[in-house]
Symmetry: none
Subunit: 190 residues, 4 copies
Amino acid sequence: MRTKDDDKIAALFGATVKLVNEIGFAASSVSKIAKEAKVSPATLYVYYENKEALLVSTYVEIKRELSQVVLRDFDEGRPIRDTLQIVWRNLFEHISNHLDYFRYMEQFSNSPYTDQVDHARLERFFEPLAQVIQRGIAEKIIKDVDRDILKVFIWHPVMVLANPRLCQGFEMTDKNIEDAFTMAWDAIKL
Amino acid sequence: MRTKDDDKIAALFGATVKLVNEIGFAASSVSKIAKEAKVSPATLYVYYENKEALLVSTYVEIKRELSQVVLRDFDEGRPIRDTLQIVWRNLFEHISNHLDYFRYMEQFSNSPYTDQVDHARLERFFEPLAQVIQRGIAEKIIKDVDRDILKVFIWHPVMVLANPRLCQGFEMTDKNIEDAFTMAWDAIKL
Amino acid sequence: MRTKDDDKIAALFGATVKLVNEIGFAASSVSKIAKEAKVSPATLYVYYENKEALLVSTYVEIKRELSQVVLRDFDEGRPIRDTLQIVWRNLFEHISNHLDYFRYMEQFSNSPYTDQVDHARLERFFEPLAQVIQRGIAEKIIKDVDRDILKVFIWHPVMVLANPRLCQGFEMTDKNIEDAFTMAWDAIKL
Amino acid sequence: MRTKDDDKIAALFGATVKLVNEIGFAASSVSKIAKEAKVSPATLYVYYENKEALLVSTYVEIKRELSQVVLRDFDEGRPIRDTLQIVWRNLFEHISNHLDYFRYMEQFSNSPYTDQVDHARLERFFEPLAQVIQRGIAEKIIKDVDRDILKVFIWHPVMVLANPRLCQGFEMTDKNIEDAFTMAWDAIKL
DNA sequence: GATGAATGAGTGTTCATTCAT
DNA sequence: CATGAATGAACACTCATTCAT
């Protein structure tokens, strides 16, 4: 029965994210995740090959969802700065609503499981953004430097600032968000 | 009686960093660390109260060493941009020579053990830098925004770029390092 | 799925009692108990929350069994002395057949785990006996002294005499048992 | 230097008794005892062959002290009942002053180490008492039953009643002590 | 004599995974 | 499909004892 399957997958997804947030990545064992999702540990292996597959799949799903939200109302016609600012605000809003997703992403990124992810596939989720950047460079609006450097200055600040472990005192007020975007833009613009 | 052996502490420090780099934080067990350091697991407990103490101590030591290297030849008399650039280059050099230290710091930062660190004490290692930033703001050279935001734009890029897991294709060439510093400065300068 | 196995519980119970008798309470480790019961140490944790739960449960089970045997054919109509003598003989017989149970009880009683037992619940197993004593006091057949003192004189002698560690030379002959009962009765009767 | 030796032995004796009372027999490790006695674990092995020797020696010393206190003012001329009552009261007083000794004795008695004690030697400490009993039997004042049975009824009740683990609610008031002695005497007298 | 360092063998417990139903 | 039982391997840590000074 299809419905039931999807329920279980959703339950496992939710349980995984919740547990990683509550007790941390290392302490999130298969049996605890199964208990949280109200299924048997054995059932988990019906849907995923092993623990790694569950964790990787959870990560990819979060990234997929993130790309959809962030690229909502994406319109290439607008000036580049405006486009980026809209994306930045979407990103900020999504983080605020789903801090649990972000904390999962961070912990996953720093685990050995990251190596098992098909990063090229993830990049494709955000392809439109990459093209905007590319256009900005061509039009001499954005600095022509290594793409990784650009990415680090545009996107990482939000992630770091949203991480309570790294920025304990920081508050995500509207002003701070706008300040940060201004600085990101100053960094990359020519 | 036998005397306490600095060699053993050094061996444990080295083994901890090496293992975390090779197999990851979560998989670095006490017995594996002990074996790598060529001591008995029981001996480890002569020098550290428990696993946490070893990991925290290793982290603090890395941070201490980093602060010394980075603040080498520190001279407040220079223009702020120059001061930051020198620090940035020191940081870059240190990262290049000790990528393993940086990977340890990252993994540690995303572990539950981070909460056990006396962060205020660590901040003091880098106090001179904080004062330069402060002066820059007072002299209206640097933007007057939340200090955490400033830190994220000045220091985090290097860390992220140096992380092969996050930036697989990135190469730390001289040009890239200078490009990145220029962008960091553009971000924070008024 | 496999079903929970009463055999395993019985095996763990037996192994626990046997080992405590053979090597002592302190030396009876989880892994040794598991090996004796021919299960994996991990399996033990399917049936009991932890070592303490196993030991406590074993103790309670022995006490429950003891109460059933000792109160067999219990009849309040008989004279009090006769009632106590029957119980005394049942107790003696049970001890003879299950010296291992008694040695387990003793060692458990002197362990820190005793504090975790619900003593009130155990007392209820022997409630009918307490009432006989109570009646004896009311009818001025038994001395009206602190209940603990009564218990010590009626029941403890059997336990101590049955303990080979405390009474190495003692033999539980019929005569000795009757002698001891006579003395217990002389002690408590008015 | 003799003085120093005796200090260390006394410190080890005290530390052993204290720790067994505070954390239990099983949890009293060599290193904890050494730390409590403020000596090195290695020093312990200068004075005792091993842990067992320390524990056994501590037990024997407690028994020796006990025999001295209990037989204080011993006078064979008095009526047997009076003699026993005096001893009983001495015993009660000593227990009250040194509950820690008694708890040590109990825990030791239920440990495997008991088997290593030279019980015959201990019996000799209390020889005068055995002879009084013997005389009581010869004079047909005390029941002529197995000596172990007599011992159990005369001496064990105090020990059990003094054990908070076995008799949680019991209070050692003067009345209770006299009640208990009366019952002990009733049990053994002809 | 006295010590703290050092350790192999063990502790109780949890793990990711598979088995039998 | 779904499950709880079952487990070998590993975990962090402590033990009684010995070694080197």
